[in-house]
């Protein structure tokens, strides 16, 4: 993994991010559980939501992430309009001293699917305001292209709805997005287990963001380690250049030098 970080760097907006596995803090059972998962994952970026301060809370998520040397990526989770998302992003920039934002603008609170119209609007405003915007979007290649055109630093298409664990529902669309994107494609949402993360990387994604699959697993630390291995395996397989899919077989053993079948003429 260390070699890969140096020979195959993961760059976002010119910054070497490090790990191709990003961890979402959503769904964490406790700070301790999150800390264990973060260490096992090797993640160098973790998302946080922006919420009202609870005066009764003693713990600090910010202190935990800073202590682990992990970059905070604030998320506009829960926003339904571009205006809300823009305000939330600006609050986050002030709170965490970062220009980076994972932009999430959802259409309804049942499917949590992104509202592409509000999303592109918010992205444009935030890019103009100097943010490094990483938008969570649907798997529509047209919307992904629009987001890149307005200046987003990456695109983050979903595999399936947030927290659903349904994996990558439309691998073809993810491939289409990857083929056309000039910015990193980070598969975000719906990953359920390690093979989903591996597939995302094999499809050509530059990185993967996982939250529920780790935080809500029976053993988050073990799952985080599995995700780390899966992302590394998928990336290596992609770079190794897989064989094509064939309609029929291609023998892997040459027939040259075969012993003649019994009863045939020798020579």
């Amino acid at each position: 993994m260390t070699d890969a970080v140096h020979t195959d760097p993961f760059l976002v907006a010119g910054t070497d991010v490090g790990s191709r596995l990003l961890l979402g803090s959503g769904g964490m059972a406790s700070l301790e559980s999150l800390a264990g998962a973060l260490r096992a994952s090797g993640a160098t970026v973790a998302t946080v939501a922006v919420r009202r301060v609870d005066p009764t809370t003693r713990h600090s998520l910010v202190d935990l992430l800073d202590g682990l040397g992990i970059r905070i990526l604030p998320n506009t989770a829960g926003c339904f309009t571009a205006a809300d998302a823009v305000l939330t992003a600006r609050l986050a920039r002030e709170a965490f001293a970062t220009d980076w934002v994972k932009l999430e603008v959802i259409g309804d609170d049942r499917t949590l699917l992104p509202d592409p119209i509000e999303l592109v609007e918010a992205a444009e405003q935030l890019v103009d305001d100097g943010f490094v915007v990483l938008p969570y979007c649907g798997d529509d290649p047209v919307v992904a292209r629009r987001l890149e055109q307005v200046g987003c630093a990456a695109v983050m298409p979903l595999g399936s709805p947030i927290g659903s664990g349904l994996g990558i529902r439309n691998p073809h669309n993810i491939e289409l997005i990857v083929a056309e994107a000039g910015v990193p494609v980070i598969l975000d949402a719906g990953i359920g287990t390690a093979s989903d993360a591996c597939l995302a990387m094999e499809l050509g994604c530059s990185a993967v963001l996982v939250a529920s699959a780790v935080t809500r697993a029976e053993d988050p630390t073990q799952m985080a380690g599995a995700m780390r291995d899966a992302v590394a395996a998928g990336r290596a397989a992609r770079r190794a250049g897989r064989i094509s899919r064939r309609y029929v077989a291609e023998a892997s053993t040459s027939s040259e030098g075969m012993v003649a079948p019994k009863g045939s003429v020798a020579g």
Binding site: S25, V48, V50, V53, P55, L61, L91, E94
Partner: protein, 70 residues
């Protein structure tokens, strides 16, 4: 929304004495100002101006920080 034009902090009514600044409010609300941001009436108040920004009667103040999510 609170009727009567009272000040609110994070959606709940909050009495503010005249001369209270944003910095005063944050100090009363948060164990530490680290990782905290403030908006008054929907506009972000930069940290550098907390000490000099008064909280007026009827202001809607939001004090936020990081929470699990995303």
């Amino acid at each position: 929304m609170v009727s009567g034009g009272g000040t609110t902090v994070n959606g709940t009514p909050h009495q503010v004495t005249p001369g209270t600044t944003v910095a005063d409010l944050v100090a009363g609300w948060c164990p530490s100002p680290r990782g905290v941001a403030v908006a008054v009436n929907g506009e972000v108040v930069p940290r550098s101006t907390w000490d000099t920004t008064p909280v007026a009667m009827g202001d809607a103040v939001e004090i936020v920080t990081a929470a699990a999510g995303g």
